[in-house]
Symmetry: C2
Amino acid sequence: MEDLATYMTQLGVQARAASRVLAAASTEAKSAALQAIARQTDQAREVIKQANARDMAGAEKDGIDQPLIDRLYLDDKGIDRMIEGLHQVDGLLDPVGEVTDLSYQPSGIQVGKMRVPLGVIAMIYESRPNVTIDAASLSIKSGNACILRGGSEAFASNQAIGQCVSAGLAEAGLPETAVQLLNTTNRDAVDELLKLHTYVDVIVPRGGKGLIERISKNSMIPVIKHLDGICHVYVDRDADIAMGADIAFNSKVEKYAVCNAMETLLIHAQVAPQLLPDLAERFTRAGVELRGCAQARDLVSGIKAAVEEDWHTEYLGPVLAVRIVHDLDMAISHINEYGSQHTDTIVSNNYPATRRFITEVDSASVMVNASTQFADGFEYGLGAEVGISTDKIHARGPVGLTGLTSQKYVVYGNGELRHR
Amino acid sequence: MEDLATYMTQLGVQARAASRVLAAASTEAKSAALQAIARQTDQAREVIKQANARDMAGAEKDGIDQPLIDRLYLDDKGIDRMIEGLHQVDGLLDPVGEVTDLSYQPSGIQVGKMRVPLGVIAMIYESRPNVTIDAASLSIKSGNACILRGGSEAFASNQAIGQCVSAGLAEAGLPETAVQLLNTTNRDAVDELLKLHTYVDVIVPRGGKGLIERISKNSMIPVIKHLDGICHVYVDRDADIAMGADIAFNSKVEKYAVCNAMETLLIHAQVAPQLLPDLAERFTRAGVELRGCAQARDLVSGIKAAVEEDWHTEYLGPVLAVRIVHDLDMAISHINEYGSQHTDTIVSNNYPATRRFITEVDSASVMVNASTQFADGFEYGLGAEVGISTDKIHARGPVGLTGLTSQKYVVYGNGELRHR
């Protein structure tokens, strides 16, 4: 345990030192590193696949769930995507050093804001080994150093990928310690990591709610986190009914196990008789179980009764809560009370209703006439994301390169003195 | 204790409800409130001064330190300044609702960022009753609700000011619960406040380091905090010597007990013989005690020896640490190692040196050829500040209206569906 603490502190010290170099690294040097990592990954295909096969064998032996095993698996197509991801991140604009709002003040000084890396980012994640490349590439591009702790079931795959990252950094003349993978699967390592507030500036956990809550509770370091994705579609009185049905269906059925899938459908009472019966049948045919309020059940027989807990639940599967609301106020109140401030959409052609929904719904993504499933970094044009934040400070919604930076003040003077 | 928890939860529930109203309030309504509070404060001058006299009598009886008593005192001039502050905040641009980066994505959706209030802000502060008006006005203008916990020594003054705020809010038709002052001086109330993560979005502590560290450690809510202000002036080899002397002198002597006062002076070895002897004499005449490295003491006799701890110390008084450095690298390393990431300035006419200093010094404010004492919200043109952050996420440096907001994503569609 003492050795573990020493090891973790050493990682922290190294990361802090590397972060100084990365923060001052040129766009060209960071680009060279990303390109070199892509080449190294391409050349190490067989090594990575062999390591992944060992992880897969271990996971099957340990009787790990099939969905987790699916996410663990890495074939040439998966490696292609990792390489493509590196090129994509390389193609993004370098956010570091951008100066905005530079203006003269009455004293004569010129004050502006400069976008700068956060410093050292620690990411804790599960299962999917491609996250290692995503995290490393976003971290390098944004001028940060990072410490990565992947899932123990993906240990061999991550180590193999980590070798490519180190080799690529070295090739580009950047410190290999800019991206450090934990060399242990010891669970206590996470607790030690959460204490390194001198060396780590922000923690980004990705995984189940249990993991994220435990980290938030114990961390002495700020956390950029994502808890629930209880997303809503509200079909307004003045909606295009066909559009409402399509958006509701797509928001749920396009993919179930994602945080931006709709979990509760709200329908204005005046359009519910037109909308719900057909839509309910469509959902049922797709295998989605509906749980509704009394009014919904009056309209469509066979809908199960929803209980209070249903409005609070992120099903992440083929179950949908349905509630009929009297007006826009009730829809907004429902979302602000039961939602998770993730992503909510209104379907409406009514101008004041859409304006009120956009203003009053307090969620990271608020949409008009679009599927909730669009809420992600690629669809928003961020190029890539390290996750989707449901926090209210720093970054809300998909966190891309900009979310891994902040702004410092820069002041240019000519010998100005302050006289109070 | 149970009553206290119930009371605090009630404040939280009320604040959350009020925050929904404030977030949707028009610029006009918020302006009407600020103007009404200014009028109420003007009309309540005698009441406020009487309350303040009670606080002053109590503080003197309790034998509270003179500097604290000075900060507690409120006369007509102080009340004038509070009223002027309200008008100033009213005159600032409303940050809420600003949409930036709205652009179409390949799917057809239009994605942008909208500036929105954080929700509920809790401020914990000491002594100066004018902070109550500053905090209330910035909170209202930025569309947030707030819970305020002032120092127990200023209890009567704060309650009297709080009455003006409530009356002003009511006059403007906004909920009085948008600004709530704790009606108790019970110290346990702060601990209860730190647990209200469902209702409070951010904590802003202002006060001594002990208070801030205790709050950061115990809070389950994100904290925007300011720890030390260990600020540096570095006089480079290529500095204008007279400018270097003036900036160093002003950064220290203009005011000692402020977080943006210089605590350590770094001087390039090549200019130290020209600069230090005269400057040391000037400091000595002003009553500033110098503590220097061996090289500094070789140049000027009578300088005390600095020990390692001096480089880490925020004196907040007439003491200055002085170190001679060999080059720019050593200056930057010293600042990044010993500084508190608050405010640091380089005095130099060398273009690459200033560029490197700006890029590589990892502080909230990095300056060229200007006094560190400029680091504050008014001087930066923010209009007012709730404090100066030494954190790295969310807001760095002086925190004004923008620091009390964040950005959510807004998505405008026309029925777009996602196909993965």
